[in-house]
Symmetry: C2
Subunit: 338 residues, 2 copies
């Protein structure tokens, strides 16, 4: 049913080798006549090479694997988009894996993508504190197969893998410092899961800013969320109970939750409560009270990740990776105390 190179060869009376040579434009001594005829027949027959076969022999698939926790999440959607674009522009196609809440699934994809001969892998897996056995196994698998790996938003993962990461600590510091400068002292925190490196780092920045200002750290002001809207909704009543005058949410989604909950409590932001988010999603500008937030450039970081894998595929040496830095976008949701 599908037309193969053999069909083309038979049809135009040349050998398979000749057809392949011509179609791939290899330098070789094939007469102009043969060349023309082959090109014409291949076109007419609508011949398309089987990439599996090509990949098998050339060891090149022009495919990279992309593993993210959740594509429908703003941050990762942006990131995926940038990666997809960068790859496309370099002739690469992306295999997508979204593992949701199943940590194991991430590594199933990892293995599967290697089996499918992806030439590189971008892994966006907020790492828990230590590398598990499974993780080690995957990295060593990749290493033995010489498949370059880029970890997204991790400071370091394993040797031989580059990481495109982000200075979450500086972000936490910036947000907190801003609130302190505005006179706030009781600053609530809505964190992410406590075993997540990126959440811990933000918290470290928060503590650092406090301590610089001579404010004691109060664990009562910390609410552990899960980066979801609902976490923000639930955090607000608790933190109000702690008499906070400001809240630093570890991502914008949770800040949105605070907005939403605040309406129920007749609370005005920023009059009654200052609020800082993290990620600086586009949405922030559209809100009635635009959200002050820490920038976290998903697109740029995604693009960079893609560049890094592609570069490694091209033979670039394994380096240390690259670190992105945050800045603070001050908008209407924060205000001088009193």
């Amino acid at each position: 049913m599908r037309v193969t190179i053999k069909d083309v060869a038979r049809e135009c009376g040349y050998s398979v080798a000749t057809v392949s040579l011509v179609l791939n434009d290899k330098e070789s001594r094939i007469s102009a006549a043969a060349r023309a005829k082959i090109l014409k027949v291949a076109e007419e027959m609508n011949f398309r090479p089987n990439r599996l076969a090509v990949g098998l022999v050339t060891q090149k698939t022009h495919t990279i694997g992309l593993i993210v926790p959740d594509i429908s999440n703003f941050h990762f959607a942006e990131m995926c988009n940038a990666i997809e674009h960068e790859c496309r522009n370099n002739g690469y196609i992306v295999l997508l894996g979204s593992y949701g809440s199943s940590d194991d699934q991430a590594y199933e994809y990892f293995k599967e993508f290697i089996d499918k001969r992806a030439e590189g892998i971008i892994l966006a897996k907020p790492r828990l504190t230590e590398l598990t056995e499974k993780e080690k196994m995957c990295f060593s698998l990749a290493q033995r197969a010489r498949v370059p790996v880029v970890t997204f938003e991790e400071f370091k993962a394993a040797k031989g893998v580059r990481s495109v990461s982000f200075d979450f600590e500086a972000g936490g510091y910036l947000a907190t410092k801003h609130l302190i400068d505005l006179g706030h002292r009781r600053i609530g925190c809505i964190t992410g899961q406590s075993n997540m490196v990126s959440s811990l780092a933000r918290l470290k920045g928060y503590k650092k800013a406090l301590s610089e200002a001579g404010v004691d750290f109060d664990p009562q002001l910390i609410y552990e969320g899960e980066f979801t809207l609902d976490s923000g909704v639930e955090a607000l009543p608790y933190l109000l109970g702690q008499n906070v005058t400001a809240i630093f949410a570890f991502n914008d989604m949770m800040a949105m939750g605070v907005y939403k909950a605040a309406r129920n409590y007749q609370l005005k932001i920023p009059t009654d409560l200052s609020l800082v988010g993290f990620d600086d999603i586009d949405l922030n500008e559209i809100l009635e009270v635009p959200l002050t937030s820490v920038t976290h450039p998903a697109g740029a970081m995604g693009r960079e990740s893609a560049k890094q894998v592609l570069n490694m595929i091209d033979g670039g040496e394994r380096e240390h990776g690259i670190l992105f830095h945050p800045s603070l976008k001050v908008r209407g949701s924060t205000r001088k105390l009193r």
Copy 2:
């Protein structure tokens, strides 16, 4: 470097055939001893089969191709997420293509995915009015290769392809009817590109509702947007110039643009202007003035698309496809006139 089935065979002293049989758990008469040893050795050596080779011989790749205009768009992000999940749960992996504003690119992906032996394709390409040559070529390519295709949000594309579509006309009707019922007569419309079937359908619904209420259609009230935030921002001043009392935006993003612009004009929604959106994205509930919107269930539709391809891959017959229906979520952005 990578361990192949030959390596395993050599290592444990059996033939490649035997190893393959055991590893794939084929019913065949292999001694328990051999079986045990092979399993053990394969495990120890960390053997993983090359999927390209497997695909070449079995003609199965357990891969489907997904083509969307823009992953970072809420609607498609939701859709992709659902598809990815459904596929994963059925042992399929997705190849992702996002073609942005380049129509041609969509078909480049289409061909590329077929070449890569995707077993099915989901194409989310808001079709312009007529099928182009290229499109026809792609569909016939898929047909000859017996690769099932599902078009997303198209009423029909070509024979042999199922479509998962949405009744945009009913959506347009619902939104408009609602505004009319509230007493509005001069209702502005922010449409999508005028050659897009789905935009035309919404418009048809709009006109139908008007005519049922005996209101004359006024082309001056139509502003052609591009489904972007900025389109909404730009549309507002124009429509205000036409003295509208309500606006129906063909998607929520453009409605957000109206919100944003309204702030600059000191306009209160819904006091001074009623606003209805389309898509009913999660965000709508979070807004200070929650947006009344027409539901458009991206997740459910994505899941259904995946089910349809998977079913066709399993030998299910080509049917007519399936049509999703809208409903109206009334929230705070619309209000009785005067």
